[in-house]
C-alpha cells in the first residue's frame, strides 16, 4: 500500500478582463477579475461606457421635456421610470392625480414588472447554460405585454406615456378586454414554466447555494428590490412606504431566506404572480373620469426640493429634484437601482469560480442604461 500525498500547487494570481462587450455582461460593462486559477480573488467593476449625462441634460429641459429621457434609463422597464419621475415632480409641485390615472399607472407599472422579470429570469437561465429555450418562452409572454403597451401609447420600447398629473391619453376601449385575456392565460403559463424549472437538476446544481448575499451585507450595501428580498430583507416600498394607490390592494411580498442565486430566481417568479393579483384588483376597481390633472404645459414648481421613490422591478428607484421656481429643474438626481445593487457583487463572488461569476452577476439583474445614465 502506498500513501497518497496531497500536493498543493502554487499558482500566480492574474487579471482577466470580462467585457466591455461580452454576452454575459448584459450591456457594455467591464469587470477586472483577479483570478487564482479558476477561483476569483477579487473583482473591480468598470462602468461608464454608456454615460450620457442624463442628470445634466435634465437641467436644460422643461419638467415635461425630461420624461422621454427617463425612458432611456432602465430601458427594460421605462414605465416605472416615468412613474418615479412624475411622482417626484408632483410631490414638488403639489399636484393631485385623478383617480382613473392612478389606476392606469398601477396597471402599467405592474405589467412592466412582469415584463422586466421575464427578461431577468430568462437571461439568468441563459447564463446558467439553458441556452435560449426558457428565454424565448418568456420573451413570447413579454411580447404580449408589449402589444398591450403599444395599444395605449403606440410605442413598444420607450413609452413616454406618463405625464405630470396623469397619463398622456386614456386607455382605448379594447384595452381592458385584452388585458383580461392576458391575465387569464399567464398564471397557467407561469405554473407550467416553474414546474419545469424549480426542480430542474441543472438549475439546482448551478444556482443553489451559489453567490450567497447575507441579510446584513444586503442592508449594509443599500441593496433593494428582489435581490434584497431574496436575502430575507422584507422591504417593499409598495408596502413599507405606499405611493400612488398601492395601499388599496391586497398582495404579498415574497421573500426567501438563504440569499443565493436560486432564491433570487424564485422571488422573481413569485413576484410575477403577485403583480397579476394587483392588476386584477385594479381592473375591477378602475373608475371612469379624467386621466390628466389640469397642469400647465410649463410646470413651475415652487422653490424647494423633493424626493420620491417607487418599488421599480429592480429595486428602489428615486428622483431627487431641486427646483428654483423656473421651468427646468435646478438639479435632478436619479437614485440608480442597478448601480447600488452592484455594491455587494465583490463580496458575493469572492471564492467562487469563473463560471459562477457569470450567473451571480446575471442573478442581480442590472441595466447599463441606469448604471451609467
Amino acid at each position: 500500500m502506498t500513501t497518497t500525498e496531497i500536493v498543493t500547487l502554487k499558482t500566480e494570481p492574474f487579471v482577466l478582463n470580462f467585457g466591455p462587450v461580452h454576452p454575459s455582461t448584459h450591456g457594455v460593462y467591464r469587470m477586472r477579475a483577479t483570478l487564482d486559477g479558476e477561483v476569483i480573488l477579487d473583482i473591480e467593476p468598470v462602468v461608464g461606457y454608456l454615460h450620457r449625462g442624463i442628470e445634466k441634460l435634465a437641467e436644460e429641459r422643461t419638467y415635461t421635456g425630461f420624461i422621454p429621457l427617463t425612458d432611456r434609463l432602465d430601458y427594460i422597464s421605462p414605465m416605472s421610470n416615468n412613474l418615479a419621475y412624475c411622482l417626484a415632480v408632483e410631490k414638488l409641485a403639489g399636484i393631485k392625480v385623478p383617480e382613473r390615472a392612478e389606476y392606469i399607472r398601477v396597471i402599467m407599472a405592474e405589467l412592466q414588472r412582469i415584463a422586466n422579470h421575464c427578461i431577468a429570469v430568462g437571461s439568468f437561465l441563459n447564463d446558467c447554460g439553458a441556452f435560449f429555450t426558457p428565454f424565448l418562452y418568456l420573451f413570447r409572454e413579454r411580447e404580449k405585454i408589449y402589444d398591450l403597451f403599444e395599444m395605449v401609447c403606440g410605442q413598444r420600447v420607450t413609452y413616454n406615456y406618463m405625464r405630470i398629473g396623469g397619463v398622456s391619453q386614456d386607455i382605448p376601449d379594447e384595452f381592458l378586454p385584452a388585458l383580461r385575456k392576458f391575465t387569464d392565460k399567464l398564471p397557467g403559463f407561469l405554473e407550467e414554466y416553474d414546474f419545469f424549472l424549480k426542480q430542474n437538476e441543472v438549475l439546482l446544481a448551478r444556482a443553489k447555494g451559489v453567490g450567497i448575499l447575507t441579510n446584513e451585507t444586503a442592508i449594509k450595501c443599500s441593496i433593494s428590490g428582489p435581490v434584497a428580498r431574496a436575502s430575507g430583507v422584507k422591504w417593499d416600498l409598495r408596502k413599507a412606504d405606499p405611493y400612488s394607490i398601492y395601499d388599496r390592494f391586497e398582495f404579498d411580498v415574497p421573500t426567501a431566506e438563504v440569499g443565493d442565486c436560486y432564491d433570487r430566481y424564485r422571488v422573481r417568479i413569485e413576484e410575477m404572480s403577485q403583480s397579476l393579483r394587483i392588476i386584477r384588483q385594479a381592473m375591477s376597481q378602475i373608475p371612469s373620469g379624467p386621466v390628466r390633472a389640469d397642469v400647465p404645459h410649463l410646470v413651475r414648481p415652487p422653490a424647494g426640493d423633493a424626493y420620491a421613490h417607487i418599488e421599480a422591478p429592480k429595486g428602489e428607484l428615486g428622483f431627487y429634484i431641486v427646483s428654483d421656481n423656473s421651468i427646468a429643474p435646478y438639479r435632478c438626481h436619479i437614485r440608480p437601482t442597478s448601480l447600488i445593487n452592484l455594491s455587494a457583487l465583490r463580496e458575493m463572488v469572492k471564492g467562487w469560480k469563473v463560471a459562477d461569476l457569470i450567473i451571480i452577476f446575471g442573478s442581480i439583474d442590472i441595466t447599463m442604461g441606469e448604471i451609467d445614465r
Binding site: 461608464g48 450595501c221 443599500s222 412606504d241 424626493y307 428615486g318 437614485r335 447600488i340 451609467d372
Partner: protein, 146 residues
C-alpha cells in the same frame, strides 16, 4: 408608511450628545457641520431608538457659494427616515468625510459625486472617477461647467 422624522427633533437629540455640530435644522432636514459628520452619522446609525441602518442614496448639489451633500437614511426596523445634509465651501478642493465605513452602499455613489461634482470624500479607499476617464477636464455637474 415611512415616517419622515422631524429634522428639528433629531437635531436637538444630536446637540445633546455633540454640542455645536449642527449648522441649521428644519422640519424636512438638518445640516451637519462636515467635521462632525462621521460622529453624528455613527450616532444616528447606532442609537437604538433611531437605528438608521439603511442608506437610501447620496447626492450633491452645487449652489455656487457652497456644495451641499445630502444623505437620506432609513431605519428598516422602525420604518422612519431622515435627510441629513452637509456643506463644503470653496471650489478648488472641496472635501467631506466618507461614510463608507458605516454604509458600504456609499462606495459607488461617492465616487460618482467625485467624478461629476468634484467633491473629495476623505477616507474613501478607492477615490477615483467612476464614469469618466482619468484626466477628463472639469466636473460636468457643476453649475459653472460649460
Amino acid at each position: 408608511m415611512t415616517v419622515a422624522l422631524s429634522g428639528k427633533e433629531i437635531a436637538s437629540q444630536i446637540e445633546e450628545k455633540f454640542p455645536d455640530s449642527i449648522e441649521e435644522s428644519s422640519q424636512e432636514s438638518l445640516v451637519v457641520k462636515s467635521d462632525s459628520l462621521l460622529s453624528v452619522a455613527a450616532f444616528l446609525k447606532d442609537t437604538g431608538s433611531l437605528k438608521f441602518d439603511y442608506l437610501n442614496y447620496i447626492t450633491a448639489v452645487d449652489y455656487y457659494s457652497y456644495f451641499e451633500v445630502l444623505y437620506q437614511l432609513t431605519s428598516l426596523e422602525h420604518n422612519h427616515s431622515v435627510i441629513i445634509k452637509t456643506r463644503c465651501h470653496g471650489r478648488e478642493n472641496p472635501a467631506v468625510p466618507s461614510v463608507i465605513g458605516l454604509w458600504q452602499g456609499a462606495d459607488f455613489q461617492e465616487r460618482e459625486i467625485y467624478d461629476l461634482m468634484g467633491i473629495n470624500f476623505t477616507g474613501h479607499p478607492n477615490m477615483k472617477r467612476l464614469f469618466l476617464w482619468e484626466g477628463f477636464p472639469g466636473y460636468p455637474l457643476r453649475k459653472d461647467y460649460l
